[in-house]
Symmetry: C2
Subunit: 196 residues, 2 copies
Amino acid sequence: MPAPKFTHDGILDATAQEVLQRGTAVTIGDVSRRLGAPSGSIYHRFPSREELLVRLWLRSVQRFHEAYLAVGDGEDPEQALVDMALRVASFTAQHQAEAVSMTLFRQSRLVDTAPEPCQDEVRTVNDTLHARLAELAQARYARVTPRHLTLVRVAAIECPYGLIRPYVWTAIPDWMADAIEASSRAILGLGDTPAT
Amino acid sequence: MPAPKFTHDGILDATAQEVLQRGTAVTIGDVSRRLGAPSGSIYHRFPSREELLVRLWLRSVQRFHEAYLAVGDGEDPEQALVDMALRVASFTAQHQAEAVSMTLFRQSRLVDTAPEPCQDEVRTVNDTLHARLAELAQARYARVTPRHLTLVRVAAIECPYGLIRPYVWTAIPDWMADAIEASSRAILGLGDTPAT
DNA sequence: CAGATACTAGAGACTAGTCTCCAATTAGGT
DNA sequence: ACCTAATTGGAGACTAGTCTCTAGTATCTG
């Protein structure tokens, strides 16, 4: 077996760079040109364009989770959740290509439409993250209802992600950390009073 | 001149419905099928697929602004800003097709890439909204710096939009109003203390 | 060195979609 | 009634892109 010249990861890297520029409209031609490889070499590793893009999305999400879950434990759970929310911004600032690749799809849609070989991975990709958030919810609140779980998810992921999203393609502004911290704490605070 | 059978707005309506299902991948074929018209009739009104989609985006944004700017005046400026933020959610709940159409593009990208005849409109589409937010910033803060203007924009638009975005395709959950109000107030509060 | 296997290479078949073109149609204005 | 101009209708030219196929190449194993 000869040494692979164009690896799985190498192709994904090139795809990520092109996605940075052309967004969802990337073509196999774009990727192969950047890679200096004929299109056949890409199809040797990935059965279809669709699967290539979904794999890139999965890898980006997983890399993000790695950074995200590496937040210090032991301290105040609220602080841990805020630190996680802040990671959304710092990860994006440091890994623009990954961050942009994450905007390629939404999980909820992919669950139905992803190519069969990716389906399992797509379905379970958020599981450990949600488990970790459930732990922190336990630590933060006296009693944990489904509403509390939702609030934690919104405060630690959805809201910061929504805030940085428009800046993924450019640069994260300096007020971002303040805005994330303030909004996350405010949303977590909603769990201390009963639902309206 | 015979009465038009397929009007500008009628074609945009059909396009919006298709966008709801197929997203950015809508084809002229999809639209013409829904409309019961041959593709030629669409090209009679819109020079290209690109311009059709940009016009839909513009119309959706403008309709949103109409609802958004109709928030009551006179009261507490902070309350007015929070009410505006809440409109983001209620507009989305009531006008899903428009809301999804707004996700088709980001203004910052369109400014460069929109077809020439749309460029002016794309560039200025947010102007009156930003003017209104500047007014409210004046009323809310003692001294208004660029940072204050940004915070107001984030609190009243960007953050609520980021929060609702993942739910545009499904339904707005019931905790959304609480989350929007809490986060908006928290972000506005940042303007009362000097920057970190 | 021979054979086996993974990989590269690239031409082009095939497809889906955009857009053009022009003949036919319809509704005023005179 | 006739002329004019906007509009419809739809066939198909054209294009960009995905994907297939096969021949060739490199590396490892015995």
